[in-house]
Subunit: 352 residues, 4 copies
């Protein structure tokens, strides 16, 4: 079994989630690599050492280039602010390493396209981890099997509530130079990736962005309408001002044969209505989905979506098989984010 | 106690709901009139007589003008297809009668404005009965009291599923000459009335309409984005193709101090999150609302919204007090419906 | 069409619910009688007249014997405190009248048996109105069709919260001489009737009663275990001290082929899990049931259960067909209530 | 920081859950030990080696006595069938090791008491891990703070559905010699531990056990009534035949000031009704609880309850502080399980 020496760049919340995934993936999945957590890079030197000790990263560096320069590093996992994604990912890909990158993939579509081009030869992944929620995966399978028939409506929201919190006014996610955008890049990117994966390409859209906080330079909320290539229509909303919602990444799909509903706050559940049944017995059923982790009825959490994503990526990488969501998928979302921004500016529908 | 001799025009589903309201209003409310169900008008002569017998309408006519012409009629209640609303309501108002009219008030804003002008001297009502759902009334009160603080998001849907049903392809609601529009006039009108009542004027909107059924001449679905005068934003959707939803007239409101949620399919419930409480105890609470009809825990249904609306109208009429929703309110919705239609055509935002 | 002249005895909350049923039954159902609300009897003279006027009762009396003595009265509807049920019902039956009686049927099984014997020749009904909740009726049909397979568990609660309210400490329901018992007769009677109807006879039971309020002479709560003749087992609880529950008359049934769940606070809903489906798609579905009153998605309330019960009773009476729940059904519940009381005293299981 | 060399006995489903806890505890918590997964013992030699490799257990043995005999082992974690708990735990305690033991602690109270006596000097834990569900911990804190006032009702169920599955008819859990009992020891033990922890001692109980499957020698279901020392009453049920329920370990508590509800299938949620609020705003609120693992809104799963339990145990062990649930707590549950069994046999209430 080959060894895979991993470097992780970033030491914040996502660094914790990724560290956990690297630590846990071999426990729950048969993967074709022996993982070595070789290097973690971060700029907060005081915090880096304890973080490395806690998660078992073998070495540390305050310069991300160490990960590129070290020829013994096989894979680079990027959990840095958005504005660094392109430079780092391209450098890693050009150095012949596997590249894994947090979402949104880039600051804009041009960057994302460049990243996808650079990574063409290397296994690459964008962390749209919610595709691997078992409930979402089940929805995806049923949709591909035609279980919902012709799709009429795809409605999605990604709602959080921390926008008004003054203590978070100065995090990098509020800085357009580092984040590119606000709710759009942070939340809408996840929403759009699921929309594309579950319901296929968007043909045209119209959108609006809004900043509630005086002086804030990124969008607090974004909303829009879309027409999908499959003939369905829908609205979407992402917000950091949706008081009452901690992490509601949710969709509802209505098709000629039924309805599906999901909400990340209840990620073990998929709601399904089968409209092919007799009318008197139709009802939205609440399916407690199973997972590859534990027995039925023993639920999983946020972190498992990273572990399951990583397992599938590593298997595909070993086999040279295609993996999704990859940088192309990340670029597709980025093109939509750009379109959302243009449409919000112009007030017009945009073919995409 | 004065006698109030009522004529009802229409004998369909709404005729049944209205008949019930006239019959029940005195049972549950102290009202300042002795109601007499004097006349019911309808064109299906064979069905009219049994309908009158069942509900105790004292006389019948196949010509709606009878209601206008009979000087002993005090109030005219219009449950006719939309294209007749204006002519009948104006005639009734000019004849000095109280006028009650089903929604949408008219085929367009011009008609609605004419109706409002004609009815200025007479007590008038448009049947936006969902304002009197106890849960909606409670939400309204709390919003007016500032309980939700500054409003950020108002999101609403009105979703039904009968659009694909071929047996209903030829009802008057599918005929633009009789209905004016499809989901817009039928469902969005209710949604917009609640939006205006709960969240105040809409400053601008952008919308899209869609017909899924080949050859159908009215919209099966309508969606849009809105900016409200109070600074909040939101999306709206009305559809007859939302498979899985029988009658989901629903809204969600997020404000700086909390969240409210309602769904007509659960009309006895109002969901509320109080964001002024400590973080660890915040949760969306499901309030089983009470009513003026029965004791707490003894729920009410669809029809009670008509009865409660009627009670409040009759009290206001007797007192010469203002009543809402009146024809002005109906005209405000109609102006929005016109704007929705224009925006859907142009693909542009519209100041309204 | 025959005329049916009705006398109603009682003018309280149940009198209101019954008045409404008599008024509404012909509006929503084709019934073989022309109803005349001929007489209402009650002892609060000051309130009786306005009550009669409101609901259209043609005459009043402060003596319930008027209803028996008047030979023009065809049906007697008893909404009196429990201790009067037997005397009044037997007198009415012996006078050859139809008899309808509120639940619990009597103070004890001996009384109930005597009532059932006396009413053998006359159409008779006990107001176990919750059998006619559409969701309960649907559950009943599915159970009879074997849709749940072999039944393993039947679990039921009837939970209210008004027990600690000092303002209600002196109502007749708190007086053993008038009510017979507390939560047992008031709430458990409903629960047991549904249990018998849905799951068949109880073979044995063990129970306990409890009074939380010092000095109170009726039970505030009752709980128990049961073994049913069909081999299933279950627990039951009725309480007026279940803070948080306004009117939770609820059951859950688990069988080899699935699960059913109901809660009166959501009476338009039946929850169903079909265990014959593939494992990954099993989930408790929330069925928004329809009714004979309105279209699908237009919900009904508490009062409709009375109207639907009455309609079915009147049709059966006209046809000489059997009707349930009748006095025999009421006596079956009464025998269980007696057994509950004996078992609570002895702490032993009882064969019933 | 001291090293803690752990031996785990057992390699089944619980062995996986415990391995994960030992691996993860240092990642999410500051603990005063450096954990070494030193030894895993199991009898399935073929499976043991890969299991050890997967989870990083340094050595293996097919004889549990290795764990006792090796003087370098500091802690013994027992995931063996119930009938081995006493012998192994006592041996480990007598060898001066920390002892952690799966539930139910023993086959009966006598065994449990002996275990508790033997372990008096050593840090000891029984794996009632559900006490550390954040929602349960929050309920516990609020109850201790008096937030629910005087408690009236405590109602609990632990419902699973795998009982009828023939493929599981021969697992050790179905063998009385290895398991002691069926649903009682397996499920009711968890239920009773939470009942004692949340609501205090049970004063008396009456119960019944039932086996649906012909020839099965353990109980498929157990039910009962209880009177608590605090004056509250309630029913309890545990079953493997509750079709439709995957893992419903649930409780409902009604007190003078409110209501709490929990269900393990939704373990991130605590439902709470505050009855001290105004009547019109009372409703059962659904609180999405946070955790020490991730940010609010990022939910946890089944495994986290083990990790959090272990963290707290290790901290207490290092400090010589008391820890719960310990063997005394396990013995308290065992005494109740014995009483349940006696009462089920006799059909009588039992003081406990």
């Amino acid at each position: 079994m080959r060894e895979l020496r991993v470097a992780m760049l970033g030491q914040g919340f996502m660094g914790k989630a990724h560290s956990n995934a690297w630590r846990q993936v071999s426990h729950f999945f048969d993967i074709p690599y022996r993982i070595r957590c070789a290097l973690v890079c971060g700029r907060d030197e005081a915090a880096l050492e304890p973080m490395a000790a806690r998660w078992g990263w073998e070495s540390t560096s305050t310069d991300w280039r160490t990960a590129i320069d070290r020829s013994d590093i096989d894979a680079v996992d990027i959990c840095l602010p958005n504005h660094m994604h392109a430079e780092v990912a391209i450098a890693a890909a050009e150095a012949g390493k596997m590249v894994l990158c947090e979402k949104p993939l880039a600051m804009n579509a041009a960057e994302a396209d460049a990243m996808a081009a650079a990574a063409r030869q290397a296994p690459n992944l964008v962390w749209f981890n919610y595709r691997r929620v078992p409930a979402v995966a089940l929805a995806h399978r049923w949709l591909k099997e035609g279980r919902l028939g012709e799709i009429y409506h795809y409605r999605a929201t990604y709602l959080q509530q921390w926008g008004p919190d003054p203590s978070r006014a100065h995090v990098w996610r509020m800085d357009p130079a580092h984040a590119g955008s606000g709710a759009a890049g942070d939340l809408l990117s996840h929403l759009l990736d699921l929309a594309l994966w579950l319901n296929g390409p968007i043909a045209s859209l119209s959108s609006a962005m809004h900043t509630f906080t005086p002086g804030r330079r990124v969008d607090d909320a974004v909303m829009g309408m879309a027409r999908f290539a499959n003939g369905s229509i829908g609205t979407f909303e992402a917000s950091r001002f949706a008081i009452g919602c901690r992490n509601r990444n949710a969709f509802e799909i209505h098709g000629s044969k039924g309805m599906l509903r999901f909400n990340l706050e209840r990620l073990n559940h998929l709601e399904f209505l089968d409209a092919t049944e007799g009318d008197e017995q139709q009802g939205l059923r609440d399916i407690l989905t199973g997972s590859e982790f534990w027995k039925p009825g023993h639920i999983i959490g946020y972190e498992h979506t990273f572990i399951a994503t990583l397992a599938e990526f590593l298997r595909a990488a070993a086999d040279g098989a295609p993996f999704h969501a990859n940088f192309e998928d990340g670029a597709a979302v980025q093109r939509l984010l750009d379109a959302v921004s243009v449409s919000a500016e112009s007030g017009q529908w945009l073919e995409v």
